[in-house]
Amino acid sequence: MTIQRRDILSGFLFTSPWFIGFFLFFFYPLSQSIRLAFSNITDITEFRMAWTGFDNFANAFARDIQFFPLLLDSVGNMLANTPIVVVFSLFIAILLNREIRGKGLFRVAFLLPVLLGTGIVMQTIRGNYGVVDISSQMGSASTGPGGAELGEIGINHYLVTLIGPVAAGYLQAVLRKVSEILWMSGIQIILLLGSLQTIPTPYYEAALCDGASEWEKFWKVTLPLTMPTILLVTVYTVIDSFTSADNGVIRYITGVSFANFNLAYGSALSWMYFLLVGIVILAVFAIMRRRVFYMGEK
């Protein structure tokens, strides 16, 4: 057996669980969802559908006035958030990777919003009970759209009287964005921290012997060796930004599918959306390909 053949065999051997999983858990739902996008539901209890071709897609272009603005919005959000989240989480991960006291506590603290945020707890504290008035509890401006929500950095009363409500509103909006972005970075911090820890210490010792400064060590050792994980984190952030429950498009699609119970149209919208997300992800891979270096690449 040639080496090439052996590689092919091993490749299929290792990925065989995935193939089984694909046919057991993914193929059917996926094909149903694609079929649904080209159909109309005739009987909801039996889940029967009739083929309608591209009608649903045509409707999205011709009739739906809400979908495309939302789509643009979510692309804009992604473009704004992703670089900030990636850079911020790398920064925090590097800080947490230093030899500092109470490292464990800090690590727990940065993951807290994720521990809470993905579950219902956050909704419980945030939405249902009108805790929105938390701004007053943080000693900040609670009037108008400028009011801070739970956990956001609030603006002090005195500042509001000083700079006026309009400026305070803008400032609050900026701070809200900042807290939002900070909250989005928990997973990324963990991923990057894990990657930083796998950089062999001899590399840093060698750099030290060559007289590299901290700054040079970051650019010449840390960054190249973290690039595979930075690619991972970037892709994750893009997907997270596109598919989180807060995303406008996702909310709209969920509304169409479940509140209005127009499953077929919702499915068509989602597939157009996934196509867009897929193209963006492909672009990320293409852009980063030349900058990502793998130690194990033959």
Partner: protein, 331 residues
């Protein structure tokens, strides 16, 4: 060179050593060494102070909601309603907690949660690492297609495949002669095949880790006649301890906090803790009490649900340290 002998290693070359060399030539060797040491200590102190200041600053934003939750869960009604005491508790109310424990049927729910979280974590670590190794190290036809579909599984939010997925599991149950709906199997089973909650992400994580490992280890083992599976189990997996740890943390956390899968597939005594919180909300009539009213029992329940997860994570993250030592030695 003389400088080095006199015990001031570690200073960078560049400007520092040049300055030092001048001093050495000038003859006041002792003073300059002390001077450098002091400068270094001061700058390290400053950097550390800055790091702490930054971390504490950010941590506040992160910790705030949790702190808020804990404090309010310990309040009596009059403290919650009071406009003056937002952060102060005049009298501690531990009754909220005993109430929450009995309302949640906490012990039963906790056991379910542990089973779901650990079972699926085991599945994800085992399957995702195998699949990712296949994708990272071997060239086979269709590799890129498989990886693209892995990414696609990440892009599609699970709730959009909800109905066909449910039908699929109902059918599978029929084929097996039992009902899978109502048990943990629809949640656990896909994780052992690289699917399930964020399964694709875990494959992606492992793939990036494995690709980052130098190929020299495997080549040495291959020359000695080791098969690929043995190489994977005895060399690659122990080297990727950090990757395993990250995946384990994330999988545990997501399954612990997941609300969506359990609410479709589970019912009765097999429900997870987050589903049970809804019961409290209904029983206590929280939904009818509109406005600025926080229910301390619900908050106590939230604390009770998240506390074990915090504890698990705290224990896990300590292993991170051991991860470094290990890879350090191996290299």
């Amino acid at each position: 060179m003389e400088m080095r002998k006199n015990g001031s290693p570690g200073s960078g070359r560049g400007g520092w050593t040049a300055a030092l060399a001048n001093r050495v030539r000038a003859g006041d060797l002792q003073e300059s060494a002390l001077y450098v040491a002091a400068r270094k200590r001061v700058s390290r102190l400053l950097v550390n102070a800055l790091v702490y200041a930054l971390l504490v600053e950010f941590v506040f934003v992160f910790v705030f909601p949790y702190l808020y939750m804990v404090i309010n869960s310990l309040k009596y009604d009059f403290d919650i309603r009071s406009a003056n005491t937002q952060w102060i508790i005049t009298r501690f109310n531990f009754y909220n907690y005993s109430q929450a424990i009995s309302d949640l049927r906490y012990v039963e729910g906790l056991l379910n949660n542990l089973m779901a979280a650990f079972g699926s974590t085991l599945g994800h670590v085992a399957s995702a690492s195998l699949i990712a190794y296949g994708l990272a190290r071997f060239r086979f036809p269709g590799r890129n297609l498989v990886f693209s579909i892995v990414i696609l599984t990440l892009i599609i939010p699970p709730n959009l495949l909800l109905i066909p997925m449910y039908i699929q599991f109902a059918r599978m149950g029929q084929a097996l002669g039992t009902s899978l709906i109502g048990t943990l199997w629809p949640i656990l089973l896909p994780t052992f095949f690289g699917f399930g909650l964020k399964g694709g992400l875990f494959i992606f994580i492992f793939r990036q880790y494995f690709k980052g490992l130098p190929a020299s280890y495997e080549e040495a083992a291959k020359i000695e006649g080791c098969g690929p599976l043995r190489i994977f189990l005895t060399i690659i997996l122990p080297l990727s301890k950090t990757g395993v740890l990250v995946v384990a943390i994330l999988s545990t956390m997501w399954h612990w906090n997941d609300y969506f899968e359990p609410i479709i597939y589970l019912k009765g005594p097999s429900t997870l803790l987050f589903q049970r919180i809804v019961n409290i909300q209904v029983w206590r009539g929280v939904y009818t009490a509109a406005g600025n009213y926080i229910n301390p029992v619900v908050l106590a329940a939230c604390v009770l649900i998240t506390a074990p997860l915090l504890l698990i994570y705290f224990v896990f993250q300590k292993q991170f340290m051991k991860g470094i030592e290990f890879t350090g030695l191996a290299n």
